[in-house]
């Protein structure tokens, strides 16, 4: 596990700049396109329009329409095309405008992209990244707000990455692009607007290494993506009450840094698992079972989880806000555990 800092395998400098999450992603794309001519972008309205969330703004001007390709509204076709191109050694990065629309491309992802390596062995690889703006909180309603990463954990052959900070967004996206496997890359829409210090210069962050957000001895909180930010806030709330919470940001779900989680739980004996998605069959369900298998002896109290309830995302902002787990929810769960 890496610590608080950004663990660059590249040459991160000790100078920092303040960037939006979107800008950090854009830098990752631009740097990788500069570095490797096989990298190109595909997606709806990412060129001329500048991207639904502005992530790719300016890249068309910088790299031209051959490498920043606006596509028809054809998710299945576009992802399929990208899988085909990847087999030939191209490194396409597809933007699926909302993660909800990845449903249309599931055949290509689950039956083709995820299977080639296994069926054809070392003769084939699929270096593909699918970027998915995900999550609720912007009143987009039931069909534009889902958090669907749990589905992809269930398909061997796929990697799943979900950064929580701008620095991680950049470093992890660069690693995802260089990876020889299909990677589902979650970008939480609410995080897009966060602005943070990130190291100057080029750096990558390896997939499968969790980040310890803060140290604490009383309870471990495991989260990723936007929920890692909520967990961090929860830890501050708890700190004021004298409860030491250790927050682990998973960064990627496949590969999963289970050792980092087990190490922390071994220390604290108590753990709260957090995700934005729905509860049943979710990421925490899997994490909880892994801890049951690998850290049972260390657990002093039952594993707790904080998730969305098993309901679709409602439109009304008041209802939507009540669905998404908050720092207060996480703190309450951790507090109850710490006091148990």
């Amino acid at each position: 596990m890496s610590n608080q800092d950004v663990s660059g395998s590249g040459g991160a400098s000790d100078r920092f700049r303040e960037l939006y999450f979107t800008e950090a992603l854009r830098e990752a794309l631009a740097e990788e396109m500069e570095r490797d001519p096989e990298v190109f972008l595909l997606g709806e309205d990412m060129g001329v329009y500048g991207g639904c969330f502005g992530v790719t703004r300016g890249l068309l001007e910088q790299f031209g329409p051959e490498r920043v390709r606006d596509t028809p509204i054809s998710e299945a076709g576009v992802v399929g095309l990208a899988v085909g191109a990847a087999i030939l050694g191209a490194r396409p990065v597809v933007e699926v405008m909302f993660m909800d629309f990845i449903t249309l491309a599931m055949d290509q992802i689950a039956n083709h992209a995820a299977k080639f390596r296994y069926m054809y062995g070392e003769q084939a690889r699929v270096p593909l990244v699918i970027r998915c703006p995900a999550g609720a909180g912007r009143a987009y309603g039931a069909t534009h707000s889902q958090t669907l990463e749990a589905w992809f954990l269930h398909v061997p052959g796929l990697k799943v990455v979900a950064p929580a900070t701008a620095a991680d967004a950049k470093g992890l996206l660069k690693s995802a692009i260089r990876d020889d496997n299909p990677v589902i890359f979650l970008e939480n829409k609410v995080l897009y607007q966060s602005r943070e210090w990130i190291p100057d210069g080029e750096f990558t962050i390896p997939l499968g290494r969790a980040r310890r957000v803060c140290e604490g001895g009383d309870v471990t909180i495991v989260a990723y993506s936007r929920m890692a930010r909520e967990a961090e806030k929860a830890a501050s709330i708890l700190a004021e009450e004298g409860i030491g919470a250790e927050v682990i940001d998973l960064r990627s779900l496949v590969p999963l840094d289970i050792d980092a989680v087990v190490a922390s739980v071994t220390k604290t004996g108590r753990v709260v698992l957090v995700e934005e998605g729905t509860r049943t069959g979710g990421v925490c369900a899997e994490l909880g079972m892994r801890l049951f298998e690998e850290a049972w002896d260390s657990l002093d109290a039952p594993i707790q989880r904080v998730t969305a309830p098993d309901i679709p995302i409602p439109f009304a902002p008041e209802l939507e806000a009540a669905v998404i787990p908050t720092a207060a929810d996480i703190a309450a769960a951790a507090r109850a555990l710490a006091e148990s």
């Binding site: 509204i73 449903t103 729905t278 098993d310 009304a316």
Partner: protein
């Protein structure tokens, strides 16, 4: 043409226009959240098309759906309330702008996944045939939707089984910021229906008479059991794709030119006055009525409460499952 009908159309189009302008205002004040796709400029399509349907016929549209609901006769008050996410909305605030519905008027939504409702429309047609009625279904979508797989699967099945569906494509030249010619291998959307041997009608979507005429033929065909028709209405949206659209992909001049030459409401006004079917004062009176109905709708919406928190756990299943919803205990 019948004067009462034309005045009704004028009122409907004006109601849509003022309703949309009001919702844009409420959005700007932060009272409407999420996405808001305005129908301004395209009013003649919904108005002309729905004038050809019977009350018991069915309607499905894409997310640019406020105008369709209004032209179908949905009360502006619960419509506006839905846009604000209020409990008095057509979907009790749980659907939102993109997912409107009014089953009482056989309006089955408001679909925010592009193209997803085309097979559903075919399904409704299939069921109507199965159940032995002579009703028809109108499925409305944009130019962008013709590039998605479900479009082609839906057209093929409808043609194959001669189902009573009208596929109405609102070709407004853009799918979000992408010009038709940058997304479609063929420039005329109607060409795509030819691949399935489906009759096509093209019409001027800025002209309510043109839309009405094309749709009449399509409805007649469907009702007579002669199968589906593809209607292409060439139209133009005067506003951005949604309120979030910075409109970097088209020139302001282009929009102004369309507003100038082809405002469907002004064209109808000119026609009515030219034919002396009403006086300018009578039309102004209708405009005032439309504005009043819109104001009333906005007030109703703003005064309505948001849905209660219990609503979160209602209607997940047709009958509630035994036991609490997983995760509910967190509240």
């Amino acid at each position: 043409m019948d004067k009462t009908l034309l005045l009704k159309w004028f009122y409907q189009m004006k109601l849509i226009r003022t309703f949309e302008e009001k919702s844009a205002e409420l959005y700007a004040y932060g009272k409407i959240g999420g996405f808001l796709h305005l129908y301004i400029g395209e009013e003649a399509v919904a108005t002309g098309a729905l004038a050809t349907l019977r009350e018991d016929d069915h309607l499905l549209t894409h997310y640019r759906d406020h105008g369709w609901a209004l032209a179908r006769g949905t009360d502006p008050k619960p419509l506006m309330a839905e846009l604000l996410g209020r409990v008095t909305g057509v979907s009790k605030g749980k659907g939102g702008s993109m997912h409107l519905c009014d089953p009482e008027r056989n309006f089955w939504g408001g679909y925010a996944i592009v193209g997803g409702h085309l097979p559903l429309a075919v399904g409704i047609a299939f069921a109507m045939r199965y159940q032995g009625t002579d009703r028809v279904v109108l499925s409305v979508f944009g130019d962008g939707a013709t590039n998605i797989g479900e479009f082609h699967e839906a057209l093929n099945m409808a043609a194959l089984w001669e189902l009573p569906v009208i596929f109405l494509c609102e070709n407004n030249l853009y799918g979000m910021g992408t010009q038709v010619k940058r997304a479609s291998a063929v420039p005329e959307m109607a060409q795509k229906a030819c691949a399935y041997g489906m009759p096509t009608e093209q019409c001027n979507g800025m002209d309510v008479f043109s839309v009405y005429g094309a749709m009449q033929k399509a409805v007649q065909r469907a009702r007579a059991g002669e199968g589906p028709t593809f209607v292409e209405a060439k139209t133009y949206r005067f506003r951005g794709h949604s309120m979030a659209d910075p409109e970097l992909y088209r020139q302001h001049d282009e929009v102004e030119a369309f507003r100038e030459c082809c405002d469907p409401i002004e064209s109808l006004r000119d026609h009515i006055l030219r034919e002396k079917l009403a006086t300018p004062e009578e039309l102004e009176q209708l405009e005032r009525q439309a504005a009043a109905a819109t104001e009333e709708a906005a007030q109703f919406a703003e005064q309505s409460p948001p849905p209660p928190l219990e609503a979160l756990y209602e209607d997940i299943y047709a009958q509630p499952l035994d036991g609490p919803t997983a995760g509910k205990e967190r509240r």
